[in-house]
């Protein structure tokens, strides 16, 4: 059913915030939105278990992921959600969940540990999800030109690179605006995402 068919229901959209551990994902989300907790507890062996099959329950394991998400309500009945991607490898299963239906992603880069965002970039490139790089300008970190960062990350010329301060609301707003403008203008995107 299409959302537009129902009066009173909000339109919803989501943006992913990704990057290495300590790059400032939670700071960025908290700078611009109301943070709320989300518990996910996913069975790791459910793919082999039938819907009403309760045999072997005791052998099933679940993994708990406590996540935060950000929520921005606009007067236009639109709610924008910001989801940080979980960092640890054992939470990869959550990435597909978060990525389906996302407008695009912000990859936060810390110039002191550029390689930390390779995994995020790989994921978004592989799945055809539009992304921009936001360089979080930490106090005391050496400043680099966007072109140098582009080379360090082996990025094509099309992907925008913006500098930001993840603590500052206006700066974060500009990052999100840059992403949405990029997504609107990017016509090279494949029609089908390959998630699932």
């Amino acid at each position: 059913m299409d959302l537009n068919q129902c009066d009173g229901a909000p339109s919803t959209a989501k943006i992913l915030v990704s990057g290495g551990f300590g790059a400032g994902k939670t700071t960025l989300v908290g700078a611009i939105s109301e943070i709320r907790p989300l518990r996910t507890e996913e069975p790791m062996s459910d793919r082999s278990v039938g819907i009403d099959d309760t045999r072997g329950l005791s052998a099933k394991t679940t993994t708990t992921v406590a996540m935060d998400f950000g929520r921005i309500s606009f007067p236009s009945q639109l709610v924008l959600y910001l989801f940080g991607t979980p960092g640890q490898e054992r939470f990869w299963f959550m990435w597909d969940e978060l990525a389906i239906g996302a407008i695009g992603a912000v990859v936060l880069a810390d110039t002191r540990r550029v390689a930390d965002c390779f995994a995020s970039i790989d994921y978004f490139e592989r799945h055809g999800i539009p992304f921009i790089i936001a360089v979080n300008c930490f106090d005391g970190a050496e400043r680099f030109e966007p072109d140098d960062i582009r080379i360090a990350l082996s990025l094509g010329p099309g992907v925008p690179i913006v500098l930001c301060d993840a603590r500052q609301r206006d700066s974060v707003k500009q990052v999100l605006v840059s992403l949405v403008r990029y997504v609107m203008s990017d016509t090279r995107r494949p029609d089908q995402l390959s998630i699932g």
Binding site: A9, T12, I32, F69, R71, Y81, R169, V180
Partner: protein, 127 residues
């Protein structure tokens, strides 16, 4: 959930963690009935239909129904009732198949939806 021992002292509470394993609330089911798939930002709305005779909604079903009298995205619903996402999905599957809620799917490819993108851009720029 709280309880008291003979001396009136609280011996388990919210800080102590859940006292029931999450999927016990769903009788061990880990997937929604009928193979339904619900996205994080899909919106849930309670219909005003009465529960059919054969369906006995549990307390968690009723909490969901009560929260969804206003259209509510699944992620907010999950956060609000403080149950794991997987459990909420199973409960929503029950309510959907009994006709007690409707789930409005959001765009799977919003990057191609210029109208939605324009709404997001306008919203952000007016902040």
């Amino acid at each position: 959930m709280t309880s008291h021992d003979g001396n009136g002292d609280r011996w388990f509470d919210r800080e102590a963690g859940p006292v029931v394993r999450p999927y016990a609330l769903t009788q061990g089911r880990t997937l929604p009935a009928g193979g339904a798939s619900f996205g994080l930002i899909d919106v849930v709305i309670a219909t005003s239909d009465r529960a059919p005779e054969h369906f006995r909604p549990g307390p968690e079903h009723r909490r969901i129904l009560s929260l969804c009298r206003r259209p509510t995205p699944i992620v907010d619903l999950t956060s609000e009732i403080d149950l794991p996402l997987g459990v909420v999905r199973v409960l929503l599957g029950d309510l959907t198949s009994e006709g007690l809620v409707r789930v409005l799917s959001t765009q799977k490819q919003p990057a191609n939806d210029q109208r939605l993108l324009r709404m997001v851009l306008d919203g952000l720029e007016s902040m």
